[in-house]
């Protein structure tokens, strides 16, 4: 066979990497070098674990009240003090993490789903379809967030699901724009022409060739998106439009501290939830930055 001789020549040309490295492994390797991102990731994992195992980490029930000890300062019994109804702040922080993190992840997941579907269709088909979808995106992103969110929750009633829904509905244009822009350039690449020449259908081309190529930017924008969602949930809950009491979230715990006297004399009622929100958002942003660098092809070494 004529090709046998050429094999030997060719095998010398190739990079001698016996181990196959998938793009994900490469990304993880680079991420590991970024200390701050790893700190962020570890903090988030600790928070998630604490939220999941909340009942085992505290002696109190979530809504257990002890009016005799309301507004108690931190001591041996209430490690972070008690709120106005005598509920343990530490316990409520743990349970609040469940809601806040869930809202952050689910709302962002939903937002990405809508954004990727619409952005993918707009970018791939272009022309009229693109115009219609992107003009809708423009309209949605023109809507002022808080008034819209407040109206939405006011009509549908305050609940954790409505918070997720409103975050997704008002938040998708950002993701859709990113996905569309990437697909606009990707679809002109030769491997897409090659895919067409292999007889692959439009649906498969979008889902299995184009969207995986946009994963890097989606992940980065998702990470910071989760931070945004947690903050917005806090804002809505603080305004009494998020999750209804007595279910605790980091946001509605702050609502309890909504007056001058508490702010001045009972720091334990507002510093812990505020601090936790701050740490969670900071960690997510650090991780997002780390991922951005890890997924940047220009930094290939």
């Amino acid at each position: 066979m004529a090709t046998v001789t050429s094999n030997n020549i060719n095998s010398d040309n190739r990079a001698r990497s016996s181990k196959v490295e998938s793009p994900w492994k490469v990304m993880l390797k680079r991420l590991r070098r970024n200390k701050l991102a790893i700190v962020g990731l570890v903090v988030l994992i600790i928070m998630a674990v604490a939220a999941i195992f909340a009942p085992f980490l505290t002696d109190f029930g979530r809504d257990e009240t002890n009016l005799a000890r309301s507004n108690a300062a931190p001591d041996a019994e209430y490690r972070l003090g008690a709120d106005s109804l005598g509920r343990d702040i530490y316990t409520r922080l743990l349970y609040g993490a469940r809601i806040s993190l869930t809202v952050g992840f689910v709302a962002t997941g939903l937002r990405i789903f809508i954004g990727v579907v619409l952005g993918g269709v707009a970018g791939y088909y272009g022309k009229t379809v693109d115009n219609i979808i992107m003009r809708i995106a423009d309209i949605v992103s023109c809507l002022p967030f808080l008034p819209m969110a407040i109206t939405f929750v006011a009509i549908r009633g305050p609940s954790i699901y409505n918070v997720m829904l409103v975050l997704a509905i008002l938040g998708w244009p950002g993701i859709a724009r990113i996905v569309r822009a990437e697909i606009l350039s990707l679809r002109e690449r030769e491997f897409m022409e090659a895919a067409t020449a292999l007889g692959i259908s439009d649906f498969k081309k979008i889902t299995s060739h184009l969207i995986p190529n946009t994963m890097a930017s989606i992940i980065v924008s998702a990470t910071t998106g989760i931070a945004d969602a947690i903050l917005t949930e806090s804002t809505l809950s603080f305004l009494g439009l998020g999750v209804a009491p007595p279910t605790p979230t980091w946001g509605n715990m702050l609502t309890d501290a909504n007056n001058q006297f508490v702010l001045q004399h009972r720091w334990w009622q507002w510093v812990p939830p505020g601090l936790v929100i701050f740490i969670a958002v900071l960690s997510l942003n650090l991780l997002g930055d780390g991922l951005r660098d890890a997924l940047d092809p220009r930094l290939k070494q």
Partner: protein, 327 residues
């Protein structure tokens, strides 16, 4: 023998802002099963658009097949629906592109991309497709195929990627393989290997090949039959030996002269004066007359016909019509 592919009076025009560009303007040719046809011509003469038209891959807009028939096994591909085309692409007609570096999706392993086509067209399950894929990679001479299947395109060299592309194109045993300048982006030693490989596979699998190139050496190496295109039209069609020993059309003669050869010691190669005419502003009469050393009055006025003689030899030139040399 039945013709596998018959292209009749194919016209693919591009409707641009500046006007209509007749990229392919009345091209005819036919191909028998297992035959290799070369399409030769300068850049922009319409060879790539011809091949894209066969697979209906011309970007629309601005491009459109305005006239003609492309009969593949008797079925007109110009009239076929998009879903019929999806079934034909990759399955009956496959294509290899010029740039192996960018024709593979960077985020998937080589195996996944080849298996996708196999699973789509041959209804094989994952394990069977994987085996078939390894078999194809071995066939195109990729060493350590069992490991290479799980590697990513960036781990392959240019020649390896072109081999993988060929494996992908041939994985569904197509009846026709269109190779659009498959060796242009490769260095010379790899070019020779790829040509060898394609010749080898052609004999094994009996696939008909349309080879598009501007490299006359590659054509001589591989093809049985050649058509020469100029400005969207076929100017000459001949068997490979006849074309090399006795080129008829002044353009073909010019192409042959401008080819470097080891045997002669010329300091400079001969060139065809001028450049390909602006497709928006084609010269009247024969499109080649401004560059033709034999241009006559009639060339400036009227389009020559494609003159056909008995041996399947065709030429589009007034010289031969007048002299009656090829009738």
């Amino acid at each position: 023998m039945e013709n596998l592919l018959e292209v009749k009076d194919l016209k693919t025009y591009f409707y641009t802002e500046d006007g209509v560009v007749p990229a392919v303007d009345g091209v005819d040719f036919e191909l028998k099963p297992g035959q290799t046809l070369g399409i030769v011509g300068e850049s922009g003469c319409g060879k790539s658009v011809t091949s894209l038209s066969i697979l209906r891959l011309v970007p629309n807009p601005p491009g459109r097949i305005v006239e003609g028939e492309i009969l593949f096994e008797g079925k007109d591909l110009v009239q076929a629906t998009e879903s019929e085309m999806q079934h034909i692409r990759g399955n009956d007609i496959a294509m290899i592109f010029q740039e192996p570096m960018t024709s593979l999706n960077p985020v998937f392993t080589i195996g996944k991309q080849i298996m996708e086509a196999i699973m789509l067209h041959q209804n094989l399950d994952k394990n069977a497709a994987r085996e078939k894929c390894i078999e194809m990679l071995k066939l195109v001479g990729i060493p350590r195929a069992e490991q290479a299947i799980d590697e990513y395109p960036h781990q392959f060299s240019g020649g390896m990627r072109q081999r993988a592309m060929i494996a992908m194109a041939l994985s569904c045993n197509p009846k026709l393989l269109i190779a659009d300048e498959p060796t242009t982006a490769l260095d010379v030693t790899i070019q020779a290997q790829i040509i060898e490989l394609m010749k080898d596979l052609k004999d094994k699998l009996n696939t008909a090949i349309i080879l598009i190139t501007h490299d006359l050496g590659v054509v001589a190496e591989m093809c049985e039959h050649v058509i020469v295109m100029y400005a969207g039209k076929v100017v000459e069609e001949a068997d490979i030996l006849e074309l090399y020993t006795d080129p008829k059309h002044p353009y073909t003669v010019g192409l042959m002269k401008s080819k470097p050869s080891l045997d002669d010691n010329r300091d400079r190669l001969e060139v065809i004066p001028g450049a390909v005419p602006n497709p928006l502003d084609m010269p009247e009469g024969c499109t080649f007359h401004p560059r033709c050393p034999h241009a006559m009055d009639i060339c400036r006025e009227k389009q020559p016909h494609l003159i056909n003689n008995e041996e399947g030899r065709k030429v589009r030139c007034w010289l031969y019509e007048k002299e009656g040399e090829v009738k």
